[in-house]
Symmetry: C2
Subunit: 415 residues, 2 copies
């Protein structure tokens, strides 16, 4: 068995049960190989029509009367997300605010539920916002942060938790390495020490099966604009396990979180259930797009998506081993499907300039992640096996030509 | 001089310098009299085109590369809002999050800047979210809330502040009564006691001139979906005076608030200036609509808008005095333009059912506000003097016919 040739990739596409889902997305230049769906997912065709309807008919035509339908969307979207994507029940999630604001709410609620415990466990390779929210709370509340090394195991977490730890907060799939953490195992050791867990599912929701109920997860957050294709900055989700939903104190009290909101009562009275995780008026246009995107994933099914993801990543890995490793690329993503999500991180000394030249001259969109990673995200709903093959081939060509020497070192603000 | 007749209203429209701005909005059924632009502003025509472009070209076509333009919008929109709408400077505002989340950030920052002071001053008729955020912080931090009666004067606030008061937070225009508070005078007496001020401009931004710089206001927030026509739940604004912008600690630390965001550095390092008031990834579609809406107001000018607003409200008041007072309506809005914003609150024992029957059978959209107020909002960019005349006439007809007797008492969740 040699390295797969392009005909084999084409055969994989012909056999792909998810192939038809590519047509559900706007793909205006198929020759552009878009391996950044884990930064911003593509635009579903249905979203185009839906947004025109929401803007022109519901806002423009229906005006304030449309709130009679909009008022339920944060919950309805949360129910869809919970039941179809992250293995929760109805009434355990809402779509609201940004991932960072939801993390803040979740961490404060968890800290307040463990009074007297002064430590938080997280890892040093967590996404920047996740680290910063923890640091902000540590700074204001005088907490001790126990920083684990990247991609912690159950044993790493087990060794870090004790009766002083209020909560463990980690990302299910690491945003740089792509490592898939043992969500159930880590939740178990955290609980054994009496700590709560707050999972960030931004890089797993919609592409890796998640079963929050089975794992008895306390709180989770995540964004809807990556594998869920909800649109740039689409509102995030907040999940609270039913065992805690009526117990935790959500700290930002707003009118959308109050029982009988339009009674406009004098004093705050937390709404029953998950509604209290709502705060202010949601951005309806962005919320509509988020729900539409979640709906595409719900229809295709996370099981089939994961199955294709595993094979896409394996193909890319095989090609990278054969073509890119000899050119100085080092794989930072763990080996083996059970240990990783849906992207491959390849380290290279010229990663920044390589990403830039790939985008500008090879029509390959990949993400640079500091300090030296080329991140290749594979979104199974619209990424084909030939896209993977062609991308590996173009990256090889760029590296062989030392194409990065053609572009300057200076970085734009957005990478 | 009798009560103005319809011909006089038509003449006012012919003489109206802002009349042409009505064409900037989608108005699909002119026979529907929409007096609820202070709940949800109308859809600007430019927004329809702008959103198609953002969705289909920038997201669908440009994909993640469009972040090179989107990344600046929160600040650019903030600069426009600050300089053209609320009398601030560039670099003093951002468009981000919901009004409630911004209030939370502002109140926590203000409290932290006045350590040792344990009291907050606000008023009992403030908007629900404003009251709830205060209550939530009072609950978690053990603060004393000094509740003023509705529509407090400078003297009311002066009597309530002392060296134990950390901050005064009020709405510039009261959401029910429409009373316009003395922003500069109240800010002055708060400062004299060493307290900070946090103003909610939701019902004044875009329709009442605001001069935050001249008044030396510390912090302000407000929504963009009322008189600013930014769309349902469009992201709010947060203003921080330049005298405090590098001093206050914004409490929710996220990646958009960090210096050199895409460096993704290990530790949070607050961005210089107003950028630290950003938290997570903004909802780009909703943000685009917000900026487009603010742009319409900026082009028309708040001065001319206020001038027309004063005359619209005066006309409605004159008709209400003549036609509605004899039918049992009681005006809750203060008399005289300097004392009020751009809506009129009329109390009536059957306010709820009257609003409903007005909407369903008289094609007049007004807001019910508990317990007994019919709120009539006049948005000068698209509300005509004949709309005011016709609405008063229809309300008179409904009241004379006791039309509320045709509808049940039960209330929907959204009012």
């Amino acid at each position: 068995m040699g390295v797969p040739d392009r005909a084999q990739a084409e055969q994989l596409d012909r056999d792909d049960a998810l192939a038809r889902w590519r047509d559900a997305f706007v793909i205006d230049r198929p020759e552009r190989l878009y391996l950044d769906g884990n930064s911003l997912g593509r635009l579903p065709r249905a979203t185009v029509a839906r947004l025109r309807q929401v803007v022109e008919e519901e806002w423009g035509g229906g005006l304030v009367g449309s709130w009679n339908r909009w008022i339920d969307w944060a919950r309805q979207g949360g129910d869809l997300l919970s039941t179809a994507v992250v293995g929760g029940a109805a009434g355990e999630a809402v779509i609201a605010d940004s991932t960072t604001v939801n993390l803040y709410k979740a961490l404060v609620a968890a800290l307040d539920a463990r009074p007297g415990r002064r430590a938080v466990v997280t890892d040093d390779a967590n996404f920047p916002s996740d680290r910063y929210v923890v640091q902000g709370l540590a700074d204001s509340r005088g907490l001790d942060v126990r920083w684990l090394p990247p991609d912690p195991t159950v044993d790493d977490v087990g060794a870090a938790v004790d009766t002083d730890v209020a909560l463990v907060t980690l990302s299910h799939v690491a945003f740089t390495s792509g490592a898939l953490l043992d969500l159930a195992g880590i939740t178990r050791v955290a609980h054994a020490a009496g700590a709560l867990v707050v999972w960030d599912l931004s890089h797993s929701a919609g592409v890796v099966p998640v079963d929050l109920s089975a794992a008895e997860v306390d709180l989770a957050v995540g964004c809807t604009y990556k594998y869920l294709n909800g649109g740039p900055g689409s509102p995030a989700f907040a999940y609270v396990g039913s065992h805690l939903v009526d117990e935790l104190r959500q700290p930002i009290w707003g009118w959308f979180g109050r029982r009988d909101q339009f009674e406009m009562g004098a004093r705050y009275d937390a709404a029953p259930g998950i509604d209290r995780w709502l705060v202010g008026t949601p951005p309806v246009l962005a919320l509509a797009a988020a729900i539409e995107g979640i709906g595409v994933t719900a229809s295709a099914g996370v099981g089939p998506i994961r199955s294709k993801s595993v094979r896409l990543v394996a193909l890319l890995e095989e090609l990278a081993d054969a073509w890119l490793a000899p050119l100085g690329f080092e794989q930072r993503t763990p080996r083996g499907a059970p240990a990783r999500g849906s992207h491959l991180a390849l380290a290279h000394p010229e990663a920044w300039r390589l990403c830039r030249v790939l985008n500008e001259q090879y029509d390959v969109v990949a993400d640079f992640r500091p300090p030296d990673v080329v991140r290749l995200g594979l979104a199974p709903l619209y990424t084909r096996f030939v896209d993977v093959w062609d991308a590996a081939e173009r990256i090889r060509a760029a590296a062989e030509a030392r194409a990065w020497e053609r572009v300057p070192h200076d970085r734009p603000r957005v990478t």
